[in-house]
């Protein structure tokens, strides 16, 4: 028996604007019920990749299939099955959420009832309000509701949490996570690495149009060359040299009132630290372990410094 096709399959995607190649041979697959996060600095090619997937841009090269359908050859068939929320898409000032849902739903074979979407996205009380009177969060929820108007099998969200308050962001995270049980494939872009780590089954890291890494967040972190750090605070403080000389310590940087020790031998460094403290009569006021995070992976792979491109 032939296995079902992946919900999304992108192979060798390339897109150029003039002489600049903004997407360079990107390939990935997303299974039904899987959540894939696209992360990367500004200009990495995340949005262009999504736009090619949605048929908003014509790729120069590559193969895109959604549920086995060739997206370049049969874009309208793909659009019947895909729901999308763009970064920017305002509605006319006087249009109401109900009208917007009814209008967009009218182009699908099996649209979801506007009332149901209005309830699901917390817009029931504002269903007949003018778009211009909606709060930013309500407008964002309406944009999300529009992405679900066709009961899609694939959902594409471009920076869905940008500009949301914490409560709305939490609701959004719940909504995205709930798509697993509905067997919907979700692809979304984000600048929030913690959001990507907590929500995504896999993460694709893009930079300058190239796919630098693709995998579950834990695997990406585990595969990182970044070493764990011990954050220590001693009273009275000890000199840097004595800490830098501990077993396994590669770097010793000041952090707060203490030091950050990068180590490739956690047990050895800890043992040495305890011995040093006992010998010098110093109190270990604080000892914390900081394991490598997605942030570290991001900066390691993109080669950027935190100061250069601190995520928003």
């Amino acid at each position: 028996m032939t296995p079902p096709p992946p919900a999304i399959s992108v192979r060798g995607l390339r897109k150029r604007y003039g002489n600049a190649e903004v997407v360079s041979g990107v390939s990935f697959e997303v299974a039904p019920g899987e959540i894939l996060g696209l992360i990367g600095p500004n200009g990495a090619g995340k949005t262009t990749t999504l736009e090619c997937l949605l048929g908003l841009r014509q790729p120069d090269e590559g193969d895109i299939r959604v549920l086995g359908i060739d997206a370049r050859a049969r874009p309208d068939e793909v659009r019947q099955r895909i729901g999308a929320q763009l970064q920017v898409s305002a509605l006319p000032d006087a249009m109401t959420p109900r009208q917007a849902l009814r209008l967009c739903g009218a182009f699908y074979r099996s649209p979801v009832e506007p009332e149901e979407l209005l309830r699901t996205f917390g817009l029931a009380e504002r269903s007949d309000a003018r778009f211009s009177s909606l709060s930013a969060g309500q407008a964002r929820r309406l944009a999300l509701a529009l992405a679900f108007v066709n009961d899609p099998q694939v959902v594409v969200l471009d920076e869905p949490s940008a500009g949301l308050d914490p409560a709305s962001r939490r609701d959004l995270h719940r909504l995205i996570a709930a798509q697993r049980s509905a067997r919907r494939a979700v692809v979304f872009t984000t600048h929030y690495l913690e959001e990507a780590r907590s929500l995504c089954d896999r993460i694709a890291l893009l930079d300058r149009g190239r796919l630098l890494a693709l995998g579950p967040p834990e695997e990406l972190v585990a595969g990182s060359k970044v070493r764990p750090r011990l954050i220590v605070e001693l009273r009275p403080p000890l000199a840097r040299d004595s800490l830098a000389a501990l077993a396994g310590v590669g770097r010793c940087d000041p952090e707060g009132a203490g030091w950050s020790l990068e180590t490739d031998s956690l047990p050895g460094t800890l043992a040495g630290l305890a011995a040093l403290a006992a010998a010098s009569g110093t109190e270990l006021a604080e000892v914390r372990l900081r394991r490598p995070t997605l942030d570290d992976v991001f900066f390691e792979l993109t080669g950027r410094s935190r100061a250069e491109d601190e995520p928003a």
Binding site: G55, L56, A84, V88, S89, D93, A94, L103, A106, F107
Partner: protein
């Protein structure tokens, strides 16, 4: 798809009426133009009849140059069309419904102008509403196609205003839309034939007052159809759902392709002499037998009375040599007078009757003999059928055609109110017609 088309069409209409700016531009401005034209042309007879096609064309042109592209470009700037692009098979029906809604909105503005013109100035309602509707459809298609091209060319809303003015102002000033074509010098009339406005005005006037022959109307509609086809194809081809899309060299060729029919139709008009402004209204040929039979000859003023006198056939016996010489001179002048030799017999008959009417209102000492001279000339010059139709037209529709308030060049002094000239000409026409038809003894 049909569902989406219909829903978007109705929604666009509803939202338009919730948009104050759209209401001001869509309805207040056309009413302002009506009042402005009314102030200038209210003395016409009937008032504004010959300006209604200009007014309606201005309304359609405003909707095309500003209303449609402003709406499309502002929606594009807000990302609405980008959102629509994600819907399956939606762009074409949504664009079509936008155009249809705009057509309906502009038609509403035109209807408002027609009703207000009738109510305020007494302008007659369109003579042939179906022909007017057909002309309107052709004009709307041609101009809204241009609006699509403007929307494709403009990167933002201020650019729409700039580009729209580049179209609007030339058409208004020298395109025969704002300034009447007849008021323009010949070179400008010829130049106007290279703009679509004059064909729009003529096509609408045909429905409003029956002006122009069937051939002229067909030519105007064909020209407008060609403009609509070229501009519509270019506008649809160049339609930008995303502001980031840029027009390349092929795009500029499409824009040029939208303008080529202007040049082609203009060159054809210039080569075939169609660039001349249409003459005044003449529906003499359309007078029916029933209308003719309905003309009453019973309550006409007596020939020897104060109003519209006609001297008896043997009037020359009692004239002094000086009066006889003056009358001979008038008869001679009438023979060579250009308006009396108009190729259109109905119009030349009207011009001759105007001479009798001016003499009557001016209380010329020879008013009766002058009327008799005109009558004799008419009987001598025209075939019975032409004369019957011409006189019936003047008697039944005194407001049509061109009335002359002064005929001093033929030797009859005085400057008379055109309305009065038309009224007296109508009475003379009935009197002469009664004689031809044997209903009035001479």
């Amino acid at each position: 798809m049909i569902r989406g088309f219909l829903y978007h069409f109705l929604l666009t209409l509803r939202l338009n009426f919730k948009n104050r700016q759209a209401l001001i531009y869509g309805y207040f401005v056309p009413v302002f133009f009506l009042i402005a034209f009314g102030t200038l042309f209210r003395a016409g007879d009937p008032p504004l009849l010959r300006q209604m096609s200009q007014l309606l064309t201005i309304s359609v042109l405003g909707g095309a140059c500003f209303g449609l592209p402003t709406a499309l470009v502002s929606e594009r700037e807000r990302g609405l069309w980008r959102r629509f692009r994600l819907l399956p098979g939606a762009l074409v029906p949504l664009l079509a419904s936008t155009l249809l809604a705009r057509t309906i909105l502009v038609a509403g503005a035109c209807l408002l102008q027609i009703v207000l013109a009738h109510g305020i100035y007494g302008t007659p309602f369109p003579q042939d509403p179906w022909m007017l509707a057909g002309g309107f459809a052709a004009v709307a298609a041609a101009f809204l196609g241009m609006g699509l091209v403007v929307a494709a060319l403009a990167d933002d809303v201020p650019a729409v205003q700039a580009l729209g003015q580049c179209l609007f102002l030339p058409l208004i000033m020298i395109g025969g839309v704002g300034v009447p074509l007849l008021a323009l010098p010949p070179w400008a009339q010829c130049l106007a034939s290279f703009f679509p406005g004059r064909y729009a005005v003529d096509a609408l006037q045909a429905g409003y007052s029956g002006e122009g022959t069937a051939g002229v109307l067909a030519f105007n509609l064909e020209a407008l159809g060609l403009f609509a086809l070229a501009a519509g194809a270019a506008g649809a081809r160049l339609f930008r759902w995303d502001g980031a899309q840029r027009m390349g060299r092929p795009g500029r060729l499409w824009v040029a392709g939208a303008v080529v029919p202007w040049l082609a139709v203009g060159a054809f008009s210039a080569a075939t002499g169609r660039w001349h402004a249409l003459g005044p209204v003449n529906t003499a040929a359309a007078i029916t037998g029933a209308e003719l039979n309905a003309i009453s000859f019973e309550r006409l003023p007596p020939d020897d009375g104060i109003f519209t006198p006609i001297a008896p056939p043997d009037f020359a016996k009692g004239l002094s040599p000086a009066d006889k010489a003056r009358l001979d001179a008038i008869a001679f002048n009438l023979g060579t007078w250009a308006p009396a030799n108009d190729p259109d017999p109905s119009q030349s008959i009207r011009a001759l009757l105007n001479v009798a009417a001016v003499a009557d209102v001016a209380e010329d000492r020879l008013e009766g003999p002058i009327a008799r001279t005109v009558l004799n000339l008419l009987f001598a010059r025209y075939r019975r059928q032409d004369l019957v139709h011409g006189l019936a037209w003047i008697a039944l529709r005194p407001g049509e055609g061109e009335a002359r308030s002064s005929v001093a060049e033929v030797g009859v002094p005085g400057r008379i109110d055109p309305k009065e000239v038309r009224a007296r000409s109508a009475i003379y026409a009935a009197k002469f017609l009664g004689r031809i038809r044997g209903r009035i003894a001479d």
